[in-house]
Amino acid sequence: MVKQMLRMVACGLVIAANGGCGKQRTAVTVAGSTAFQPFAEKLAEQFMTERLDIAVTVQGGGSALGVQAALSGAAQIGMADLVQLPPEAQALTAVVVARDGIAVVVNNKNSIKDLTMEQIRNIFCGKIRNWKELGGVDHEITVVSREAGSGTRSSFEKIVKDVTLTKDAIIQDSNGTIRETVAMDENAVGYLSHGLLNEKIKAVTVVGVACTTEEVVAGRYPIVRPVYLLTKGEPTGACKDFIDYVCSAEGQKTIKDSGLIPAK
């Protein structure tokens, strides 16, 4: 929350600074998914170096807010990374701009290397409670999940199917804090966006398939969600230019280089 607010203030300052130099720029506001936000910021930055007549502002707030903002007009473009868009998003035009694998992560000291979907479901439902049952050490599993309403969580639960999160699960409010919690607790298991994996944690393979860009592009890795850009009606003008840029070869290359998976 605090981070999001700071970002919004920072965006505000950027707008103020741009306004100060006297040039009139067409404003485009992009809001929504916190997972896609850093990538959208990078894309916006590059887009604006080419198009001096357009000012793109990127805000977070979550996928649900992305849908709401696009509907209400609070933002011209909403970002949402959900497997299934909510029914109210029917009224919006959705373009898939990227795909994002959700990696199941454990502590580096954990000996578990591979899990099946069935096992993942049972862990998060609280039916498998000890690593011993999976061939690991005899210790209780600490399940780490995201808060209700998170796009990553709803996508994860939808793809893994029938997950009723165990009540013992520790809840963290961002991909980053999930990573820290799993990195510090030897018995923890969590999930996070593929783009945010690093050496502090270990992503397990799911049915033998690793969560890598290649496997996701090839369609083999099972836990993948699309990232949508949403507009009210067909995008026009500056909005269309920005979405076109994101979908262009250059935009898709940026997405790939930053660790996400391009849509095409």
Partner: protein, 307 residues
């Protein structure tokens, strides 16, 4: 510009100007009064507006869901339309109680030590240092909790580490400045003659401290503890970071819990519709709890001045 009747009037100055000067003084006097009134009122007004806003958003929800299904149901699953905050109420109570068990004895003992057993000059150095504790941002307390306390609990006591116990310890430390500085002030306000009288009657230093001084300062000390409880109930950032935020009724101090404040802050970013209203309703519950605690503290303070 001063034209009060006592100042000698300049002989050359016409009477009309004197009257005008007095009028200006009168005006500025009254103007200042209203400006200050407006400024003072703005603080009260913002309290009133916050209260009204939270009530307006939250109360209809409580009415709609039903008082019992909101406060005493233990299922919290907003996407399935289940909004029971009972586990969080219990969690808030336990975390606060734990914080008081740690913070109150330490704080009161610290205050006694600072006022009775340490020279004034030393206290003048130590007390501001303790008050500095209050200035440390709560996120830093949380950070310490995550990096040091949680791993310690996990390795030595078991459980996930991020737990009720960790929250209580962090909050217990956070409320120390509140307990110590108010307790020190009330103990210092006890007339010196009480202590001298007790000592003259043959009481030892410790006897006179706990039988006379603590008794005389009791209401102030109780007020400091109640104010600290208010702070502990309302603390958000540090608590979110160390308690793990699992929605369940804790069975031991090592279990992960979610407090009322954590619930609001965690889910506010995503909540829409009924879910959002539920968070406001959680705010109503918190608001009422904190108001009750503050009123109790005020009542305790008043009793002291009354006796």
């Amino acid at each position: 510009m001063q034209d009060s009747p006592n100042t000698p009037v300049h002989p050359k100055r016409p009477a009309r100007r004197r009257v005008a000067g007095a009028f200006v003084t009168w005006c500025s006097d009254h103007l200042a009064r209203y400006v200050f009134l407006a400024v003072a009122f703005s603080a009260t007004a913002s309290l009133l507006l916050i209260a009204l806003f939270i009530l307006k958003e939250g109360v209809p929800f409580i009415v709609k869901i039903g008082f019992k299904d909101f406060l005493f149901a233990s299922e919290w699953d907003p996407s399935a339309g289940k909004f029971g905050i009972y586990p969080m109420i219990i969690a808030s109570l336990w975390v606060t109680l734990g914080a008081m068990l740690i913070g109150a004895p330490l704080g009161v003992a610290g205050a006694i030590f600072l006022t009775q057993f340490v020279p004034r000059s030393v206290m003048r150095i130590i007390k501001p240092m303790i008050e500095l504790l209050a200035g440390i941002p709560s996120v830093l307390y949380g950070f310490m909790g995550v990096m040091v306390l949680a791993p310690f609990i996990r390795n030595h006591l078991g459980g996930p580490g991020l737990s009720l116990l960790a929250g209580s310890i962090i909050l217990g430390i956070m409320v120390l400045p509140t307990v110590i500085s108010i307790s020190v002030d009330t103990i210092n306000a006890v007339p010196r003659t009480y202590l001298e009288g007790a000592l003259a009657l043959g009481a030892t230093r410790w006897q006179s401290v706990h039988m006379v001084i603590l008794k005389a300062a009791r209401s102030g000390i109780i007020a400091s503890i109640i104010l600290a409880m208010g702070r502990a109930v309302g603390e958000t950032m540090a608590v979110i970071m160390v308690v793990g935020n699992a929605v369940k009724i804790p069975h031991s101090a090592l279990d992960s819990v979610r407090t009322l404040t954590a619930n609001i802050a965690l889910e506010m970013g995503y909540a829409t519709g009924l879910h959002r209203q539920a968070l406001f309703a959680t705010g109503v519950v918190l608001f009422v709890v904190v108001m009750i605690l503050n009123s109790l503290a005020m009542a305790a303070m008043k009793r002291k001045t009354g006796s």
